[in-house]
Symmetry: C2
Subunit: 320 residues, 2 copies
């Protein structure tokens, strides 16, 4: 149980209270939900910037440099790193990530990793909860960076106010395939490591691919950066601001806010309904027993799912 | 509505019927579910090999070579490519993927792409359905290859009979982070492009990382391949067979079968419950109206989710 007033302390910008609440959020405690409900009316002010892109493109270095620019402009910055953490690697404590830690002692910066493996209740929900805490504690900008480029991660980034896709010159076929999958969500495209050979060709390729997008799609700016030395980062910050201005005018950000809320709702409902399903099946060994029958082919999964849904809805007819 | 006897035609190994059913599966039609229920008791014979790994590691080339070896051994091979397809790239019709198409005219090979973007009902469910069709039509081996390495994709591969993780020598920091996230699911590790400089070092690094895994973890073989010329592929096929033999003896495959069934059940139930939730909310504008109130901060998402769950369970108390 969280101590009284955790939400109030987060709203006052207290870092330790925010860290504490985030741990409760990770554990999906009832206390966390109680505090998040109190925070919710005070959220919606932070600008959310999503960052995704090819592995090896230097996303973390771009994030590190964005933090520096936004801090220089007097903005408080929260960062959520969505990370396929391995229990035996102890998290991605690697080159770029270490670099970002130079901001750890800055009270205007709060960096939080969100492990995607084994987390309960879905990525969209977990991200929303962490972003809500950062938003409520007064962060002006919240950067959501994904290490992986799977479907869930790409969806989370696509629901940001601005989705930034980072690529690099001269990657192979397989990378092109991934790029194709994520390019369509880009509001701003970055060619990082643009001092490398092939930057011109990469830009031509990206422009050609963008031309294949729907004619209705808004103009996507392509920004060249050399994030390791900060090159191009002011231009990237400006491009993000221009996109936000255009998207606000076109009411795109409003629509994304609704889509974000819907994704969060669906994940919350799903978690609650699965809990109810386990309870409804408790007398018959739970979902595991049902799964075992399906695995043995004594029951088909479609019929089994129908059975659970029926049991769940019937449960509502008994006394609450 | 599917024509009568589609399931029977799939069981007879009719390719056109299988292709037709897969289209129905994509659209999540009631007819598809009806046919899949009939097929289900006839599934469970195919060996499922999952392939994932770093983008650029040459996974598709490895798959292409595995097809060739299994065909040479007289086995029928199905392939599911899980692919973050973009509507404007028209799918990943790229280098390696084109190479795999040389098997398209072989009646003993069936290759099917599964787009991960915008698909309904979850990746685990969609993959299970496609694998079930390939299994029922008599494929001896079904290879599930992921282009992306997100959480969902990695989970799907981890539930295969054998999970093969493909890596290459000499990749950077960011790649290491992803590798850490997927290494733990590897039953067999492949160092592809092993004729490149750095293969020895890559193997030493992998062994060091494997030593960090739990002491209980079964031995993971590391196989070097040069898939572009077929080098090391017979050794990979043998390593997969050895893992399957060990895992069968240790009843690991049985446990994975139950986990696979559970994941599929959860996704089917979720889809059905969400449908029921939309129906329960139909009078109040559905989930979209609720999401709009959440986005406007006039309602918090946790309370809104509770409201839906209550409405859904209450619905069971009325007349069916």
């Amino acid at each position: 149980m969280a101590e009284a007033g955790l939400a109030a302390r987060v709203l006052a910008g207290e870092v330790r209270a925010a860290a504490r609440l985030m741990r409760e959020v990770d554990d999906h405690t009832a206390a966390a939900e109680h505090e998040l409900r109190q925070l919710y009316p005070h959220t919606g002010r932070a600008r959310i910037i999503g960052i995704t892109g090819n592995p090896g493109a230097g996303k973390s270095t771009v994030v590190d440099q964005l933090i520096e620019r936004y801090r220089a402009a007097g903005k408080k910055v929260g960062v959520v790193c969505i990370d396929p953490t391995s229990p035996f690697s102890g998290g991605a404590i690697l080159g770029d990530r270490i670099r970002m830690q130079r901001h750890a002692t800055d009270p205007g910066v709060f960096i939080r990793s969100l492990a995607t493996r084994g987390h309960l209740g879905g990525l969209s929900r977990s991200t929303s909860d962490i972003v809500a805490v950062l938003d409520a504690m007064g962060m002006d900008v919240v950067i959501v960076e994904t290490v992986g480029v799977g479907q869930d991660e790409v969806e989370v980034v696509s629901l940001s106010h601005t989705a930034v896709v980072v690529t690099v010159p001269g990657m192979g076929d397989d990378i092109q395939a991934i790029k194709a999958g994520i390019l369509e969500i880009a509001d701003v495209l970055v060619i990082n490591k643009a001092d490398r050979e092939g930057a011109d060709r990469a830009e031509r390729d990206l422009i050609a691919m963008l031309h294949l997008r729907s004619m209705d799609a808004p103009e996507v700016e392509i920004i060249r950066t050399v994030a390791s030395s900060g090159g191009g980062i002011p231009e990237l910050v400006a491009a993000i601001a221009r996109f936000e201005a255009r998207a606000t005018a076109a009411r795109v950000l409003e629509a994304r806010g609704r889509a974000r809320a819907r994704a969060q709702l669906v994940e919350l409902m799903t978690a609650k309904l699965l809990e109810a399903a386990e309870a409804a099946l408790a007398g018959q060994g739970g979902l595991d027993a049902l799964a075992a029958r399906v695995a043995q082919r004594t029951q088909d999964p479609y019929g089994a799912a129908d059975e659970v849904v029926r049991a769940l809805l019937a449960r509502g007819s008994g006394p609450a």
